[in-house]
Symmetry: C2
Subunit: 301 residues, 2 copies
């Protein structure tokens, strides 16, 4: 199977008013993203995946496939603090044919060693024991508080070439992204920046796309830049993407993306987030929409 | 049912060589702690509970009860990043008759609001919907990175008096512990410092005991101070407890406690920890034991 490249969205997870997973709205959203050729990185940080139970996470993977999302376009998040859950979810995703899995490090204990993290990821690879596994590491130290170091990547890649398939670098530190590309991409290790702010720069330096929250709301222009990044107006396109992202980022990103979808779908249910997150207030949502309109942003379905 | 007071141990979880939960050794350890009248706060931070799957956590609660640990002496950890898991585990523990449950806040998303944390804990209380629930909040900001503020405690206590039963304060910040006692203990909200370093000071100021890692290895002297804290030699006893703790703390606590148990039980299996933690090296273990013997510490079974 060809490795997954391009722009992927950590798809936001809609909830019903009583906080249940809204599988219908989720599928509708994913199919809309697919209509823009966006990959489906379900169950990521922006999916509130860590506010979902292991059972709910597995059911979401199955529901999307049953609903017509091609597993070859999917890179669900299957990390967990505990190995049994991570192995079980990863195994399920691989058997379901997903192009890859995106796996957080265990994030409860802090200050853990690279040795311990190596043992954890080795535990997944060996527990899953499937040559089809394409495991993408997830470096998001500002949230997980557990960084993935270059030396950890190197040791994992040497030990499990092929199965350790790449990384999402959400650190926002371009020097780290560039180092990952420089050190490992020649071995087929794929680097995805975690924000479209680095989409153009990444593509110019050897990244294979990006996995970014705002692909949930701005998929068309992001796909467009991916296709035309060698064109003369690419810097201008990048500036437009970043201007939109900056507005969403001024709020808690998950709540602001859901507020935007609720607004342009005219569907208030979309505002719902699970605790410990909170939805934008009506006032915040109005201000957000106003500012988005000022930068020429809108969504259409 | 009388509320649980005294010294509780967040019991370390033994693993077999292939990282399976070792239920037999766990039960043996808990019964030994009970022989010293130590309460069983299974599934805490020092139990590597976040390295256990929800199923394993539930099975541990059941296995301890089946093995003869009185549920009235148990305060298992039932927190989780996601509400469905936290509700399910909490509900199970309450129905099993546990004296209380100790619940971490959801710890993946950082910088969350008190509003969001209130909604989370309210979601547990209302989801469990059982008047027997005695929920103890768990404030361990250096690990969870999600603090439990005084105003959050106040709002929860006003909304769910009785069911919000107390707190374990592992911040190591005595001023915070003292404020919790001063503000809320008159309403029957019980405060447990998270370390025996504060056992004597806590008891003198209205704490109801302590929940401390090292109760796993030093239960007798901790119980003794609890019983005799008004005696003239209490400060001396406290100093001895703290001297022992200081040695364990110089290493990663979980690994050092397991190394000590392995040494004095002459049972190397006890050294095993789950990733992302790593066991002490042989050299570290020898140094630990040497230093413990220097302060007059040993274990007997």
């Amino acid at each position: 199977m060809e490795k997954i490249h391009g722009v992927l969205a950590p798809v936001v997870t809609p909830f019903t008013n009583d906080y249940g997973v809204d599988y219908d709205r989720l599928l509708e959203h994913c199919l809309w993203l697919r209509s823009h050729q966006i990959g489906i990185a379900a169950l990521g940080t922006n999916s509130e995946a860590n506010s979902l139970s292991p059972d709910e996470r597995q059911r979401i993977i199955q529901a999307l496939i049953d609903g017509g999302v091609e597993p070859a376009a999917m890179m669900p998040g299957t990390g967990a603090c505990d190995l049994p859950t991570a192995i079980s979810l990863t195994s399920f995703a691989v058997k379901a044919g997903c192009a890859g899995v995106l796996t957080l490090p265990p994030f409860y204990y802090k200050g853990v060693s690279d040795e311990g993290l190596f043992n954890y990821y080795a535990g997944i690879v060996e527990g899953v024991d499937n040559p089809d596994l394409r495991l993408y590491l997830y470096h998001i130290p500002q949230v997980s508080q557990v960084p993935i170091s270059l030396s950890l990547v190197e040791r994992l890649l040497r030990t499990y070439p092929g199965q350790i398939a790449g990384i999402k670098d959400s650190s926002g530190d371009w020097d780290n992204t560039a180092a990952l590309i420089r050190e490992f991409s020649a071995e087929g290790f794929d680097v995805f920046p975690g924000s479209e702010d680095f989409l153009l720069q990444g593509l110019r330096h050897g990244a294979v796309g990006c996995i970014s929250a705002t692909a949930n709301v701005n998929p068309g222009p992001m796909r467009q830049l991916l296709l035309s990044y060698e064109n003369p107006n690419a810097d201008e396109q990048q500036a437009e993407l970043s201007a939109v992202r900056a507005v969403f980022q001024d709020y808690v990103m998950i709540a602001s993306m859901k507020a935007a979808i609720a607004h342009w779908r005219n569907d208030v249910v979309w505002q719902t987030v699970r605790p410990p997150l909170v939805a934008l207030t009506d006032e915040q949502a109005r201000a957000l929409i106003g500012r988005l309109e000022e930068v020429g942003f809108s969504m259409s379905f």
